[in-house]
């Protein structure tokens, strides 16, 4: 949504906190565990972008996470369509959320969040620092890491970040491609501004770029 108008102020009352209600971080934890325990299918982030666009903007942040977590579980077949509704009714009827404890599993789950998978080096990258590149004009159908506001603009490669799976094909599943940090003049992205000039830098996959 880079460059869109009409969203108003950034700093508003309550905007400084990470979450407002207890359920929000429990949804965060459920989403994390659905990933580490391999209970879901697809990427939460890509699935959130499938939300009806008006609903996406109306929804709160963790409301989107709740929706995408349910979708991942349904798509894997871990739970059925009516199961959450069934429990909503039981909770309304006064039942409590069931509890189970397993300290070993809890410790292993925390440990799992410390794993990292860094970008690997890209010695054969097509572009290098100083190269002028143009972002391709395109209209991808589904998840992409190429923001609309940069398409068609020309920038300069500042660094080769490394190789990573191309996310537009399947989240974390596509073939690996070089990723470049590309700097753009604000004038090339947004035209003249009373603020003068600044630089916007994006990390762009090789497939998004052509030589300029």
């Amino acid at each position: 949504m880079g460059g869109m108008h009409g969203f108003g102020a950034v700093v508003t009352p309550g905007s400084d906190v990470v979450s407002h209600e207890e359920w929000e971080l429990r949804v965060f934890a459920l989403s994390t565990l659905v990933g580490t325990e391999r209970l879901g299918a697809g990427s939460g982030r890509a699935i959130r972008e499938e939300m009806d666009p008006a609903a996406y903007l109306r929804a709160g942040y963790y409301e989107r996470w709740l929706w995408s977590t349910e979708q991942r579980l349904l798509r894997k077949g871990t739970m059925g369509e009516r199961e959450v509704d069934g429990w909503v009714a039981r909770l309304r009827g006064g039942e409590a959320v069931p509890r189970r404890e397993d300290p070993g599993a809890a410790a292993r789950s925390v440990e799992a969040t410390t794993a990292t998978d860094p970008l690997t080096s890209a010695p054969d990258a097509r572009f290098g620092p100083g190269d002028a590149v143009r972002v391709r004009r395109m209209r991808p159908d589904g998840h992409t890491r190429c923001p609309r506001y940069a398409r068609g603009a020309t920038g300069v490669v500042e660094a080769v970040r490394g190789l990573d799976a191309f996310p537009d094909i399947g989240p974390y599943a596509g073939p690996e491609e070089p990723v470049y940090a590309v700097g753009f003049s604000s004038v090339d992205l947004f035209g003249p501004s009373p603020e003068g000039r600044w630089t916007v830098l994006l990390d762009l996959f090789d497939s998004y770029l052509e030589p300029a």
């Binding site: 460059g3 990470v18 934890a29 709740l66 959450v84 410390t114």
Partner: protein, 199 residues
């Protein structure tokens, strides 16, 4: 908060609890697994970690060099790493450059050093505006960047996560790492603020 807002949140809290109930009842997750993840991200991961990284870079020139060359590796030296920190790049503020970080596509943020992002970072307003009118947005945070200083806005569009290394404030000569770390605010590591001045 309006009555409608409360009602919506009650519904969402109920639905979140129902989802937890489904997964616990099936024996797929335990209650303490969920508690442990919440606690990890509420207590262990937060800007206090990033502040230690910044303070170390301020007092140790070799560390600063390693941090700017390979952020994740230097951050790992202090014991921080994990989800959303696979590849971390540290960008340095100087008298000529002010860096600010955003994720216009979603909410990418370096969890190991900053924890989970504040609400404004995830808001459509920040995501839409900071790339297109950075000085107006920074002014809302009370930050007036001198006009001769270039602003560089980093839009975290790939798996790379960014941390700003702010300038060490004047009047802090001779301060130890711990006292310096206390001056490093979360916003100064996102670029929407600068470190506090010593009292």
């Amino acid at each position: 908060m309006s009555h409608d807002h409360d009602r919506v949140h009650d519904e969402l809290a109920l639905r979140a609890a129902a989802l937890e109930a489904v997964l616990v009842e099936k024996g797929l997750l335990t209650t303490d697994q969920i508690d442990a993840i919440v606690e990890r991200y509420e207590r262990d991961l937060g800007p206090q970690n990033g502040a230690r990284v910044v303070a170390r870079a301020w007092v140790d020139a070799d560390y600063r060099e390693r941090l700017l060359a390979d952020g994740a590796a230097a951050i790992d030296e202090l014991g921080y790493g994990g989800f959303e920190g696979d590849t971390m790049v540290v960008v340095e503020n100087t008298p000529d450059v002010h860096n600010v970080v955003v994720c216009t596509l979603c909410s990418c943020y370096p969890w190991p050093v900053l924890g989970l992002p504040p609400t404004w970072y995830k808001s459509p307003a920040y995501r839409a505006r900071v790339v297109a009118e950075p000085r107006s947005v920074l002014r809302e945070f009370g930050l007036e960047v001198p006009s001769e200083r270039t602003i560089r806005v980093w839009d975290s569009t790939s798996e790379v996560r960014y941390l700003v290394l702010p300038e060490r404030p004047p009047g802090t000569e001779g301060m130890d790492e711990e006292r310096l770390a206390a001056l490093v605010t979360r916003d100064s590591m996102i670029g929407t603020g600068v470190p506090s001045l010593p009292a």
